[in-house]
Symmetry: C3
């Protein structure tokens, strides 16, 4: 039984950016040598989120539109009165989706469907340099 950790870094263009991290995550799984276990990817920070989706142009428009409808960016939230940075909506979206995604690892890769990708959702209202933490446990 082993544990392996690393970080994956990239930059985003702010709210609405969806980053497909499946290939780099599976590269880390291969590097770990772990073939059966559990994988957690997480964002240290409270204005992004991790989930899975089919990474195709239609849904890349649909998902940001959904969040804009459920938790509008044009509203002033209590958070904005505290800090004045105008990203209250980003924090709320992140808390709703969650800061991490845990998946089984089997046969040396993350267990996913054919049309299913691990994605980072950027909700912040400005471009960000992000580092995703990746941890794999197994054998």
């Amino acid at each position: 039984m082993n544990v392996f950790e690393t970080e994956y870094r990239f930059s985003t263009d702010g709210d609405g950016t969806i980053v497909d991290i499946t290939a780099p995550v599976n590269e880390v799984v291969r590097e770990s040598g772990i073939t059966t276990g559990q994988l957690t990817v997480s964002v240290p920070g409270s204005t992004g989120a991790l989930t899975t989706i089919e990474y195709e142009p239609g849904l890349l428009r649909d998902l940001p539109e959904l969040f804009e409808r459920l938790i509008p960016s044009g509203t002033t939230y209590g958070h904005d009165e505290t800090w004045g940075d105008g990203n209250g909506f980003s924090h709320l979206r992140s808390a709703l989706v969650g800061p991490s995604c845990t998946l089984p690892v089997s046969k040396g890769e993350a267990v996913l469907g054919t049309w299913q990708q691990i994605v980072f959702l950027e909700f912040d209202n400005r471009s960000r340099n992000r580092r995703i933490h990746i941890n794999i446990i197994g054998e």
Copy 2:
């Protein structure tokens, strides 16, 4: 320390089907021999989700109604223009809830409340054959 993996298969009647998988998951935990650890159940595929709920008739009506209100099935999404399969709403609901559920294992079973079940949520717009991946790590 050990790791154990298997799959659990069933079929659904499409959107709105909620499947209580608590008993088969706990059967797998017993089979693994692991008494303390962590359990991840996941759906390979991007039109279903895993969470927990009290599996009773009222909530089995309420939860699909909630998703229909938050992410209506009768709307045309960008995804539907890409593929023409009309299940854009399914993908969006799945991304929001998430493809997996991780729970502690203690005393040889998943840690749950008395009125709390592990459920698979089918969001796709047609009946599906599903396989749930189950991974348990611990000792």
Copy 3:
């Protein structure tokens, strides 16, 4: 490789209570002696949830307002007709957010951003005594 489990107990004032459990969770990580691994915190029960958020006064108002807007407490749900306890909204919010939060452990603590806390969200319509289950695997 080791596994460590414990419970953390507290009471809440019912719906809208947000409890920052970061410090007690990190205390448990230290107690476990595990420096690299994965941490799962979960609520046994179906009317609470775990996620992360920046724990500051603005968001402590914003998040309950968001849930009140998405899943109103003043509506009668099918669940309420089953049990008559009037907390159908609590169950639905819990199923949407999820009963657990899994994070990497690195350098002996949960991997979090500077302004990111692990929080328990109370959704039930009455004060509750809660016990959070904490499980850590790693080395």
